[in-house]
């Protein structure tokens, strides 16, 4: 029995960009923080 045709239910467990944002904040790289925020807005 294959999974063909099966709808998979997955869980949303985080966002990679949030990790990048946290790292950028730590480095006080505000340009990067702005860019990440913009990117998120583009697709949200």
């Amino acid at each position: 029995m294959t999974e063909l045709g099966k709808v998979i239910q997955a869980n949303l467990v985080g966002n990679e960009n949030d990790k990048e944002r946290d790292a950028a904040i730590k480095l006080q790289d505000w340009k990067m923080v702005d860019e990440l925020a913009q990117k998120k807005n583009q697709t949200g």
């Binding site: 063909l4 045709g5 709808v7 239910q9 869980n11 949303l12 960009n17 990117k39 697709t43």
Partner: protein
């Protein structure tokens, strides 16, 4: 090097090719190896051997400006072949992702120095990479891209077909030109969206319209990327520009009811049916993709989201939305993030 895993960073295309080949070679299964030591400095031969099964996946930097049917391009060439003789030989399929392109001659981007921000998954089954080239103001057709070379487990095939177990999927969010397939001038310079070695190659609109000798085709006629359909649209009756040979039955969405994510794995077909202007051209499912999937942004999923399959699976996927400086239509794909 760690072999199986997720990698990201910004490196040149020759270095990215090395990264893919070197990580594949580090996977513990030892199915992958260097197929040709002479293929170095911007090109690599990734050889897969498993029992009696052999596949060569050649990755090449095309840093010489190639004349496409209407534009000019540099980029990544991927070749599947079942033999090797100083280069791909025997049965062969090629796709060329011209992510560094320009409407006229004089491409400024030097692929040996310009950086690509990449997102890469490596495992025994192959690789999936998404990338965005460093922008420059001269090359006005720069595109983001995805390249997938995946071997599916033969035990998961829908039926025993006697064919190999690989497929490839290649997209560029700007130029996807595919020249007349009878013209040797364009050999190695056509973007094929789907390759199922060695059964068929397929370009989205070209196969849909069944015009293999037409010089180029895309969503209009100039070979530009069009998003895969999100729904049955009355204006377009679905998906005339959708990839042929691979199906995305349900793009991932986030439920407004419970916040969970729902999707179907991409379905790879073993053949395509060409009648000309058909809305369905694939009737021969053979296996599902595991290295990547597709999603849609209008339900609340965003770039960077990580989704996890239910336990006991440990698989995760990273959803990326990649556009480029010259083209605002993003590629919406998820690549594997955890095995």
């Amino acid at each position: 090097m760690a072999g199986v895993g997720y990698y990201t960073g910004a490196i040149t295309l020759p270095n990215l090719i090395d990264k893919i080949a070197d990580e594949l070679n580090t996977v513990a299964s030892t199915h992958w190896s260097n197929g040709d030591a002479a293929w170095s400095a911007g090109k690599r031969c990734c050889k897969y051997v498993n029992g009696g099964e052999t596949m060569y996946v050649a990755l090449e930097t095309v840093n010489t400006q190639a004349a496409l049917p209407t534009y000019y391009g540099k980029g990544l060439r991927i070749t599947f072949s079942d033999a090797w003789s100083s280069g791909p030989s025997g049965n062969k399929q090629q796709s060329f992702i011209a992510f560094e392109a320009k409407t006229a001659t004089g491409i400024a981007g030097d692929l040996t120095t310009m950086l690509i921000t990449y997102y890469l998954w490596i495992e025994d089954a192959g690789f999936c990479v998404m990338g965005v080239p460093e922008s420059n103001t001269t090359d006005n057709l720069q595109g983001s891209f995805i390249a997938v070379a995946e071997r599916y487990d033969p035990n998961t095939k829908e039926y025993s077909d006697g064919s190999g177990n690989f497929y490839g999927y290649f997209r560029c969010n700007y130029i996807e030109q595919n020249a007349d397939r009878t013209s040797p001038t364009y050999d190695g310079l056509r973007l094929e969206n789907v390759m199922r070695p060695f059964r068929y190659i397929a370009h989205a609109y070209k196969e849909y319209s069944n015009t293999p000798t037409t010089t180029y085709y895309g969503n209009t006629t100039n070979g530009q990327y069009t998003e895969i359909h999100k729904s049955w649209d009355a204006a377009y009756f679905g998906h005339s520009q959708d990839p042929v040979g691979i199906e995305f039955p349900k793009l991932a969405i986030k439920s407004s009811g419970n916040g969970k994510v729902y999707y179907c794995k991409p379905v790879v077909h073993n053949s395509i049916t060409l009648y000309g202007f058909r809305h369905e051209t694939s009737f021969d499912p053979i296996a599902l993709s595991d290295l990547f999937m597709a999603w849609r942004p209008d339900s609340g999923l965003v770039d960077g989201d990580i989704i996890a399959l239910p336990s006991p699976s440990t698989k995760k996927y990273l959803l990326k939305s990649l556009n480029s400086v010259d083209k605002a239509t993003p590629l919406y794909y998820g690549i594997k993030y955890n095995a």
